[in-house]
């Protein structure tokens, strides 16, 4: 909102990307390790507080286990670990349930915040200096008044086949 004057070359590319998000989009925001993140609200099916999770042996470390959400089996992923952050102390976390390829996943985050409508004008691409893991799962940054919000790409976050192929 502040920095209106933009580099023009940057601007073209930016608008192309921004169009994908339409003019203003609603994002569910959440915090992991004091960083604000957001995912498009339409992706979100549910928000859960602490849930009884069954561990899955031999699964990748970031897969916390599976849980029963109204009769559907949901795979829980610790987004912290997925992003390469250290595990959180204490177990009180919240989860955002999202669907990917017909399967439900519960993304464990530190806390879930409010839903924000973000204007495309505040959108910016990932700075190239971002941590590779972040760069991989983030589709861009929104400049909020006080903070920066990282938009997570749920599909990439949950797509393991891409990694296996690599």
């Amino acid at each position: 909102m502040s920095n209106e004057s933009q580099d023009s070359g940057e601007h073209d590319e930016h608008s192309v990307l921004a169009n994908a998000f339409s003019d203003a989009e609603d994002f569910v925001t959440f915090v992991i390790a004091d960083q604000l993140f957001g995912i498009p609200v339409l992706k979100v099916q549910d928000v859960l507080s602490a849930y009884n999770i069954t561990r899955i042996p031999l699964a990748p470390p970031e897969i916390a286990g599976s849980l029963n959400l109204r009769g559907r089996i949901v795979t829980a992923m610790d987004v912290r670990l997925r992003l390469g952050l250290p595990p959180k102390e204490g177990r009180d976390s919240m989860s955002i349930v999202a669907e990917h390829d017909g399967e439900l996943y519960s993304l464990m985050v530190d806390s879930v915040g409010e839903v924000l409508a973000l204007k495309s004008g505040d959108y910016e691409r990932n700075p190239p200096t971002l941590d590779p893991k972040f760069r991989d799962y983030s589709v861009g940054i929104y400049r909020l008044d006080a903070k920066l919000l990282v938009v997570l790409d749920v599909n990439r976050l949950l797509d393991y086949s891409r990694e296996q192929a690599a």
């Binding site: 069954t54 599976s66 029963n68 399967e103 949950l158 086949s161 296996q164």
Partner: protein, 977 residues
């Protein structure tokens, strides 16, 4: 009613209904080519099916209708209301015929030549400038019939008017004879008919015109009272109308989209889960007013579940429907005469399962016909009937469906399979030499193997039996194969009835619960220090003695890498702790201190010090699972009850963890993972193929040298690995050296109330005075012997192929076991050392390199079988072992051939003398020499043996004499030949 027929009726009625609608649409949009095409196709299909089912009358009507449609489609005729009318007429006629067909299950007698003539005329005349009115058709028909009788027009009109309402009337009238509003119409129609029928009577062409038109009114009118005018035909037609009361077949079944059914199934699954949940809650409450209604709910849900399952059930015949055609084509193409027999086609199984086995089945039947059956000339030459048969048989057995595919063809040729294996690099020649026929046959299930020597257009499509096996195993099924060369091949497929809901055993390990499908669970064993079952360890590898067999065990905790919980790791009770003093103080009764001592002394794996304190209380459970022919035990902490679970696939992220086949929600709402026994077996390095034969004690188990054998690997004096077949070893003991005594220059120890000689691997070695010494105990009948070893390393399941023979006393040779060159110890040599009276001490090697002869060993003592087999294999014989004369005779029946037979005398059932007599007098083996093997040999016995037909007689324990005898017998044979 015939399934085919009722299906035809359902389908054709549907098509007709569709035609009705579409024709009307066509009338409104005459230029809709797509619509026209569809109409033509539908009509064509009806014609085709009628022809296929042998319904000529229907076929001809449909054909005539199709003709007209064809003209319209080709643009030779325009879509006019008249053309539509005449086509609709043919459709009505078809429908009428169908009704009668349904009632009587036969095509009604009668003649439609009038309608057909009119249709044809229409088709021909359509190109001529057509008269626009409805009368045109009638006129043309009339012209053809040579009569312009006005009644026909009247009838035509009456028909046209009556048709619609009359149909309604038919149903209404059937229910209620006084369906007043319709009656006049019907009456009118009938009257019109009779009026028309009479004058036209002598004009055949026109008469037929009558047949289609009034038929419906008649049916409607017949049940109505006071219709004396009704022609005799009407009563016949009335019969056709009758079944309508009960609803026609077409109305009794309805087509439902599979998705709807799947959805229903999912909902029922959820309902089952919810019910389980409720029942679980109920169980925890002693008294509840919900008990009765819940019980009722329980029943209703169970029935609902069954009901929905039933909707998914389909006769297996559906999967077979294509086979007769395939076989016919094959027979034609390959110039074979093939008879396909299908039994139990009505056996039902789950749709999903059916879909999955459809292709494998087709493939296998095709294989049987293509590769299995010979061409007629070969069959005749082999003394078989010219026509070969492929027999399919399906039936229910337990919760399974069994499908057999058998042919009476040439069977699998071991020789060809061997060649293939070598060509494709699946096995080496040496490996194959040592294998039994059965094992060789199993190769057809291996990837990269195709039995077709020449790839024909029917086989060699890249789908091999390995794919078939994989597909069948994927749905929890098994496939077995029996084949006798020259007699035929038979596959037996066993698959579960349904996949959606399975019964599972819930177990706990490290505070996590898991489900194991009940189907693969054979039994549960509780193991603790105080029961007869104790888990023993061989270098940390747990094993369990279960009914005289060693069962390999896997610990679920280790397998799943679950961190141990605070309680304690499982404690290992080992008989190694036994001291020589007495059997009373054997492992079962081992005091905690002894256990502690043992733990320190023996293996590192056991040194979970924390566990020791609670050794006495510790108990855990072993789930004995069977995968194909391989059984293993899975160690778990606790076993709960069994529960009906709905298998849900795991998230894609977890698909590559092969230990899980799915996950499910339990009654209490928690999610558990479903263990896949196949996957567990695979991770333990055992592929679930019916080839290993670790089951030495089973009935007439034949053991070839190429079987994978459990070998006990140990170190004797140095670190070169030595091994001995595990089956030979009775026990692994650890003796207290202070108890070792010396007698007559030999070490002995008191063991289970007997003196057990201790033999050292290295001559002249001295035992230490103190400490503990691991010992392998060999035991046969009431003799035991201890072989002193340095340490026990491992148990390895491997093929025992002696690759290097040796002259070193005490060794059979060297084999690659567990990827290491390992000396295979000749247990018999050390038995000689222990009991001089057992064996002749002199040893001269009689290894005849040139001999690679098939040898049958018949002996009821597993000890001797296990001892002699490696010995004989090492001398170059291909050895097949059986445990009784009866089993030997079965092999004889089965067409096996041997160069020499070695038989024990004292055996349960048929003894050696009887066996020899039987073999030499009336069997295929009458020319095969038989050598008697006996523990006692006095002259009388010798004579008796010769009388019975034995070629020679050898004392059981005289290894060299045996080899010499075999050598001589065979060279005699060669000399004679």
């Amino acid at each position: 009613m015939d399934d085919l027929l009722s299906e035809f009726l359902t389908e054709t009625n549907e098509s007709l209904a569709e035609l009705d609608v579409e024709l009307v649409q066509l009338e409104q949009n005459p230029n809709d080519q797509e619509l026209l095409g569809n109409i033509f196709r539908l009509m064509h299909t009806i014609k085709g099916t009628c022809g296929f089912l042998g319904l000529p009358r229907l076929e001809s009507v449909a054909h005539a209708g199709e003709n007209v449609l064809g003209k319209v489609r080709d643009g030779e005729m325009e879509v006019t209301p008249e053309s539509v009318t005449v086509i609709l007429e043919s459709i009505d006629q078809i429908r009428l015929l169908l009704e009668q067909l349904e009632a009587t299950e036969a095509e009604p007698e009668g003649d439609d030549s009038d309608l057909i003539a009119r249709l044809n005329a229409f088709a021909d005349g359509g190109s001529a400038p057509a008269a626009p009115a409805a009368e045109a058709a009638a006129e043309e028909a009339a012209d053809e019939g040579g009569s312009g009788n006005p009644e026909i027009d009247a009838l035509e009109a009456a028909f046209a008017n009556a048709k619609g309402p009359a149909e309604l009337a038919a149903e209404a009238a059937a229910k209620e004879a006084e369906a007043k509003p319709d009656e006049p119409v019907a009456e009118e129609a009938v009257e019109a008919e009779s009026a028309a029928a009479e004058p036209v009577d002598d004009e055949p062409a026109a008469e037929v015109e009558v047949a289609p038109a009034p038929a419906e009114p008649k049916a409607a009118a017949a049940p109505a009272p006071a219709k004396p005018k009704a022609s005799p035909k009407a009563s016949a037609d009335a019969k056709a109308g009758e079944p309508k009361k009960e609803g026609s077949v077409a109305n009794q079944s309805l087509r439902v989209n599979v998705d709807v059914l799947e959805n229903l199934m999912t909902m029922v699954s959820e309902l089952v889960l919810t019910r389980n949940q409720l029942l679980q809650i109920l169980r925890s409450q002693s008294e509840s007013e919900f008990a009765a209604p819940l019980q009722r709910l329980n029943h209703v849900v169970s029935e609902l579940q069954e009901g929905v399952m039933a909707t998914r059930m389909q006769p297996i015949g559906n999967a077979w429907a294509k086979l007769p055609r395939i076989i016919r084509d094959l027979a034609h193409e390959l110039d074979k005469k093939i008879d396909l027999v299908m039994k139990g086609a009505e056996t039902e199984l789950d749709r999903q399962v059916l879909e999955l086995i459809k292709d494998p089945l087709t493939h296998m039947v095709r294989n049987s016909a293509d590769h299995g059956l010979e061409i007629p000339a070969d069959r005749l030459a082999a003394g078989k009937p010219e026509t070969g048969s492929v027999i399919l048989n399906a039936y229910h057995e337990g919760g399974h469906i069994i499908i057999e595919i058998a042919d009476d063809g040439k069977g699998l040729s071991s020789e060809k399979i061997k060649e293939k294996c070598i060509d494709n690099g699946l096995a080496s020649e040496a490996d194959l030499e040592a294998m039994t026929e059965q094992q060789i046959q199993q190769f057809i299930f291996k990837a990269g193997f195709s039995t077709a020597a020449a790839v024909t257009s029917v086989s060699g499509r890249g789908v091999g039996m390995d794919v078939v096996r994989t597909n069948i195993e994927k749905i929890g099924g098994t496939i077995e194969l029996t084949s006798v060369e020259g007699r035929g091949t038979k596959f037996v497929i066993k698959i579960p009835l349904t996949l959606a809901i399975v019964s599972a055993l819930i177990v706990e390990c490290a505070n996590e619960r898991f489900a194991i499908p009940q189907l693969s669970v054979v039994e549960l064993v509780r193991a603790s220090a105080h029961t007869e079952h104790t888990i023993e360890r061989i270098n940390g590898t747990p094993v369990l003695r279960l009914r005289n067999r060693l069962l390999p065990l896997v610990n679920l905790r280790d397998l799943l890498k679950l961190e141990p919980v605070v309680e304690a790791a499982p404690v290992i009770e080992s008989t190694v702790a036994q001291t020589a003093a007495s059997e009373e103080t054997s492992a079962e009764a081992a005091a905690p201190e002894a256990a502690e001592a043992e733990q320190e002394a023996v293996e590192a794996a056991v040194t979970e010090a924390s566990a020791v304190d609670k050794a006495d209380e510790e108990e855990f459970f072993i789930v004995v699972a069977q995968i194909g022919t391989y059984s293993m035990g899975i160690i778990v902490d606790r076993v709960f009850d069994t529960e009906e679970i709905v298998v849900k696939p795991v998230a894609p992220i977890l698909r590559d963890i092969h230990l899980f086949s799915g996950n499910t929600i339990l009654g209490d709402g928690s999610v558990v993972m479903i263990l896949d026994p196949n996957g567990i077996a695979a991770t333990t390095g055992e592929i679930a193929v019916a080839e290993g034969n670790e089951d030495g004690v089973k009935d007439h188990a034949s053991i070839g040298a190429g079987d994978s054998v459990a070998m006990l690997v140990f170190h004797a004096v140095d670190d070169t690995p030595k091994s001995v077949p595990l089956a030979l070893v009775a026990r692994l003991e650890e003796i207290d050296l202070s108890r070792v005594e010396s007698s007559n220059g030999q070490y002995v120890v008191q063991y289970r109330g007997q003196l057990m000689p201790l033999v050292l691997m290295e001559e002249g070695e001295k035992l230490a005075e103190e400490g503990r010494q691991p010992v392998l105990v060999f035991s046969d009948r009431n003799r035991t012997m201890g072989l002193v070893v340095k340490e026990i390393v491992d148990i390895v399941e491997d093929r025992m192929n002696i690759e290097l023979s040796t002259d070193r006393p005490g060794y059979i040779g060297t084999a690659v076991i567990g990827e290491k060159a390992t000396d295979v110890v000749d247990a018999s040599y050390y038995l000689t050392q222990a009991f001089h009276d057992w064996f002749a001490a002199e040893r001269n090697s009689t290894v005849d390199d040139a001999t690679s002869r098939r040898l049958l060993l018949v002996d009821d003592s597993p000890f001797f079988r296990n001892m002699l087999q490696p010995l004989l294999s090492a001398s170059g014989y291909e050895v097949i072992c059986v445990d009784s004369a009866d089993a030997a005779m079965e092999l004889c029946e089965a067409g096996e051939a041997f160069d020499v037979i070695i038989s024990d005398i004292e055996m349960p059932g048929m003894n050696g003398f009887e066996f020899a007599k039987k073999v030499t007098t009336d069997s295929r083996w009458s020319d095969t020499p038989i050598v008697a093997l006996s523990s006692f040999s006095n002259p009388a016995d010798l004579q008796r043996g010769r009388d019975a037909g034995f070629t020679d007689y050898v004392a059981k324990t005289d290894r060299d004499a045996l080899l010499n005898t075999l050598h001589e017998t065979l060279s005699d044979l060669r000399g004679a030949a």
